[in-house]
């Protein structure tokens, strides 16, 4: 008889085995058939099968065999095998054959089986599969091109199985999931298996063998797009960074790896990598000139990371821009990036309509790239940069948000210093807070941008390397702090408040308010003026009748008073006195102030002062008079240190918001405080005097003052103040009228371009909902409420300013609560009747 062709022979043998396994009950038969199957996998000389047979088995029968085993997992003979036999013969088949086929069969089995011992068996085989490095074997087999030329579908499935293994097992095993299938463990393992495959690739390349990294790249891409770039690059990035330091083969392998990542996954790979590497040098070594050769990578690195997204740490910006600047071929991209950054920064519409965080991000990027520019390149870009600087600064300084103004100042300063315009540079005054300092720090290169340790004997494991650096860092810290420790001992004492330590003056302060007035009007003596200013508030409060005689006159003088002698705490002293006057003699003074607010020839600052004084006075009036009210007589203790409240419009808003919070909480908390003693509200009867005059003239632009035009700073503050008046008028009979008028007023400006105005509007709406009786709200504002709701929902969703969004949400909540209460009350009433 002619010997059979190897494929037939194998098929016959495998069929024979299957038959035995499915029918026989004899353990020996079973064992011998399993051994026969094993023999097709055995390599080496003593193998019972020829290499042709083995190849044929691997190609055509291995998957079938495993599927057969899995489907017969309930067979009677399986429990009959001893543990050693089972491990050797049954488990072994899964662990020794082509890994991709084994993995597919295992995953298929796991997803089909219900919880049972059989499933446990498959799970333990899968665990072994992972632990024995079969993933690396799988990846490596694809690198070597020895894997069967598979269909795209098969490859896609395989990738999906590899990447989604934790999800598949978790779905099947629920709480009984194994430790090594947890995402953190699994992806770390996968990352090191990929590294192993890459290392073997490097070795093979050195030995002159061709390899393909397509499959590894695809795996990497797929892992990253599924959101697991963090754990993967935490392992891979430090290692790649170390390996590529001196080894050209490693560098080529890395470049190839990234080049082969499919376009649709490129972005997530790059963003993951750029966050994980330690600095621009490492990034450059790993990525190479990918940014030039790959369009997608170029878009991600030069555009998306810088201009579209803004969630990354500053280190990412340093890495990206440092990377672009580090190579001659990449430098044109840096210049291109700088152009688009400067355009983005200077764009007045962006200043108004993009979130503040993004503007900060763009500013940082701009400063970083300007720092990286060479002088020659700078010359080339000078005119553009200058234009950007001037236009951008104008739109930043126009903004009513303090942080944006600061940003404009810092960037302007840095740009002008860098460009060296006729040896002059800009200098602004701004607070050195965390944000401005961080921006300023962009202009100074970080020394030792790459903290990784120089690897000893070629390769250090990433873990060791990181340990080493932390040790270095801590020992440096220690040595740094040691010599100082002796000198620091003064710091063990916290200083007391020393603000009262003022220079002593020889003059005695005036004792009558009229004297103060005289001095304010006519005196040129700075000492007397200062003393009068310091005692004025106390005198107003001490002698109410005297104060009423001259209240308007004194208010007028104070409103026009300038700090000619740079008296410390001038603004707050003046303000406190005006507030005291308003409180003491409410109606005439409010009348005067509200009229003056819309008159000609006042500076914006004075108008803001008026609003501030009215707001503080209203606040004070609305507070119940308590017996032990802190005596306002004399100087506020820390006059020179308190910032003038007018500089910070947020403060009373915060106060009120805190009140809103406490109010909303109280509904659920129940009464925690003893009921307060009833005292008359001094504000309620006069609320209208504060409120309505300010509403009357807003739409009449004057030569010097255009509320609805350029002066939106005042508009924002005005609306805030009106909102505050509204809020304080809670429970006052006039509140309903005020609320209606206020809603009408703010309706016109609800989509104002300036976010401060929008915040004010939302604040005012909030306070209307808080203060208006819910019945009036529903009955009187019936039609408006629907539109208001739609508008609020719109703002809550789409406003670029975070505060606006929050306030809109708060308003919605308040509105709903108020309506619900009203409806319930109505129901209760109708039930009763």
């Amino acid at each position: 008889m002619e010997p059979l062709a190897p494929d037939t022979e194998v098929r016959v043998a495998v069929a024979q085995c299957f038959r035995t396994l499915s029918t026989s009950t004899e353990t020996e038969d079973i064992i011998s058939s399993l051994q026969t199957l094993h023999s097709f996998l055995d390599e080496g000389a003593e193998s019972r099968s020829s290499s042709d047979q083995r190849a044929e088995f691997r190609r055509a029968h291995f998957t079938r065999t495993l599927q057969f085993l899995v489907s017969n997992i309930q067979a009677d003979w399986l429990p009959g095998l001893s543990a050693a036999q089972r491990t050797e013969l049954w488990d072994g088949l899964f662990l020794r054959g082509p890994p991709e086929q084994a993995l597919l069969v295992l995953m298929e089995g796991i997803s089909e089986l219900r919880a049972s011992t059989s499933l446990d068996l498959l799970i333990s085989v899968t665990e072994q599969f992972l632990q024995s490095g079969r993933l690396a074997a799988l990846l490596w087999s694809y690198c070597l091109l020895t894997a069967p030329s598979d269909s795209p579908q098969l490859r896609e499935t395989l990738l999906a199985r590899i990447v989604a293994l934790p999800d598949l097992t978790a779905n099947r095993l629920h709480l009984k999931n194994k430790h090594c299938f947890c995402p953190q463990q699994y992806y770390t393992l996968l990352a090191s298996e990929m590294l192993t495959a890459l290392e073997r690739t490097c070795q093979a390349l050195r030995d002159g063998t061709d390899c393909s990294l397509t499959f590894v790249s695809q795996t990497l891409g797929k892992v990253c797009i599924q959101g697991h770039s963090g754990p993967v690059f935490a392992v891979m990035a430090p290692r790649l960074s170390v390996c590529t330091r001196s080894d050209m083969v490693w560098q080529r392998v890395c470049w190839k790896l990234l080049q082969n990542v499919p376009q649709r996954w490129m972005e997530s790979v790059l963003t993951g990598l750029v966050q994980a590497v330690s600095g621009p040098e490492a990034f450059g070594r790993i990525v190479g000139n990918l940014v030039i050769t790959n369009k997608k990578a170029q878009f991600v690195i030069t555009h998306k990371l810088l201009l579209l997204q803004y969630k990354y740490e500053t280190q990412v910006l340093r890495t990206v821009l440092g990377y672009l600047s580090a190579d001659r071929e990449r430098r044109p991209l840096l210049i291109q990036v700088l152009r688009s950054l400067s355009q983005a920064w200077a764009n007045p519409s962006a200043v108004k309509h993009t979130p503040l965080e993004q503007q900060l991000y763009v500013s940082k990027a701009l400063l970083l790239s300007v720092r990286l520019l060479r002088d020659a390149e700078l010359q080339e870009l000078r005119s553009e940069l200058l234009q950007c600087m001037l236009g951008g600064m104008q739109s930043h300084l126009d903004s009513s948000v303090v942080r944006i103004r600061h940003m404009g100042m810092v960037v302007g300063e840095c740009l002008s210093a860098r460009m060296d315009i006729n040896k002059t540079k800009l200098k602004f005054e701004y607070d050195q807070d965390e944000e401005t300092l961080e921006l300023l720090s962009m202009m100074t290169p970080i020394s030792g941008e790459e903290p990784e340790a120089e690897p000893e004997n070629g390769v250090t494991s990433p873990l060791e390397a990181s340990e080493k650096t932390t040790q270095n860092a801590s020992s440096e810290n220690k040595s740094k702090s040691d010599p100082d420790s002796d000198l620091d001992s003064d710091d063990e004492f916290t200083p007391y408040d020393m603000s009262a330590d003022q220079e002593m003056s020889k003059e005695s302060p005036p004792r009558y308010l009229r004297d103060c007035l005289e001095i304010f009007i006519s005196s040129e003596d700075s000492v007397r003026l200062e003393l009068s200013l310091r005692v004025a508030e106390g005198l107003v409060r001490k002698n109410v009748f005297a104060a009423r005689e001259i209240s308007v006159q004194l208010t007028k003088v104070l409103l026009h008073m300038e700090n000619k002698y740079s008296i410390r705490g001038f603004l707050s002293l003046r303000q406190a006195t005006m507030v005291a006057l308003t409180v003491t003699d409410c109606i005439p003074v409010t009348q005067y102030l509200t009229t003056e607010f819309y008159s000609m020839n006042y500076s914006l600052c004075q108008r803001l002062d008026i609003l501030e004084v009215l707001a503080l006075a209203a606040q004070e009036l609305s507070k119940p008079i308590t017996a032990e009210r802190s005596p306002p007589v004399g100087v506020p203790v820390s006059t020179d240190l308190t910032p003038y409240p007018g500089d910070n419009p947020v403060h009373w808003r915060q106060v009120v918001e805190r009140r809103i919070q406490s109010k909303t909480k109280r509904l659920t908390k129940g009464v925690t405080q003893p009921p307060a003693k009833a005292t008359p509200n001094r504000y309620a009867p006069v609320a209208g005097h504060f409120f309505f005059p300010l509403l009357s003239n807003y739409d009449k632009p004057q030569v010097t003052f255009d509320l609805l035009g350029g002066d939106h700073l005042v508009l924002g503050r005005l609306i805030h103040t009106l909102g505050l008046f509204m809020h304080l008028a809670v429970n006052a009979p006039i509140a309903a009228q005020m609320g209606r008028a206020l809603l009408d007023f703010v309706w016109a400006v609800r989509y104002h371009v300036d976010q401060m105005v929008r915040r004010g509007v939302l604040f005012a709406v909030c306070s209307v909902f808080l203060s208006m009786p819910s019945q009036t709200l529903l009955v009187d504002l019936n039609e408006q409420l629907f539109e208001t709701r739609t508008w609020l929902a719109d703002v809550a969703e789409g406003d670029p300013d975070e505060d606006c969004r929050n306030l809109a949400i708060q308003s919605l909540v308040l509105l709903d609560k108020s309506l619900k209460k009203q409806l319930q009350d109505q129901q209760a009433l109708s039930m009763e009747s």
């Binding site: 007391y496 020393m498 009262a500 330590d501 002593m504």
Partner: protein, 333 residues
Amino acid sequence: MHEPGMSRPAPSPIYTLRGAGAPLNTLHFSCHGGDPPLLFSGSGKGAIHMWNLNTRRAEKVVEGHSGNSVVWVNTLRGTDTLISQGRDMRVCLWDLSEGRSALLDSVWTGSVGFCQCSLLETSTGTHLLAFAGQEIEEIKIIELPSKTPVCILVPDAKLGMVMCIKLWQPDSGPGPLLLAGYEDGSLLLWDVTQRAQLSQAKANPEPVMCLTFDTESLRGVSGSSEKNLSSWRLDGQNNLQLQDSVTLVNPGVSQLSVRGDGKLLASAGWDHRVRIFGWKKLRPLAVLQYHTDLVLSVAFSDHQDPQQRLLAAGSKDQRISLWSIYNEGADTG
């Protein structure tokens, strides 16, 4: 920097002692010996009050210098012997043991100035006393109780009147050293045994009103009628080296005192305020406001329990204020 809003409010005195009836030129704590802790004060009308700090009453009043202002008081041998210096040009020794207040001895100084004496214990029972002499520039040193003259120190150059002196025994070196501040603002370091000037520095432009010296860290400060406290140190070769000065808000300092543990410096200001500084870096820590007239003297108590260590300030407004400040656990909690 601390924020103004966050810092603790300025402290207040824990109690005050009234009834001296005259400005209080000098204060001296004596909390070492048996109970109770005592505070001695010397007034502008010649009375020395011995305040019991437990009852907060004057336990004894010694009228010693025939109505002339008492400029300095101290104690020898626990609290048994009191030594006081008055503007009647006499230094008197008083026996206070067993409730007595008898005059033991007196020394005629001949000095019409305000310079306070300085006392140094050389061995048990014997002290050196330095005081300004009859001539305006001279400093005399005598031994007590024998009253043997030790030396007379007169500077080579014209420096004006002696304003303040401090006698101490350095750890290294055989004999005691003496620091003296003069009317022209100079500081001189004298070696008492050699009778030689070791070093000179122009610490202040105005007369040196007061000085204090920490023998541990070899640093000192001196104050005058202007706004600056100048600080200086001695290097290894006993050279005076001027260091950074501290600017005060208002001019004029009457007295300076370093706490026993070398952590705090207190200054008695003409602006009615006592200022507290960290001694290491002279960082301002607190301004104590209570008095309504010049503060003339400050003293830290030598109580063994650091928590009971007080600061006393005596003022021209005839009151003594006592403060508990930066005592571990006592006021920081």
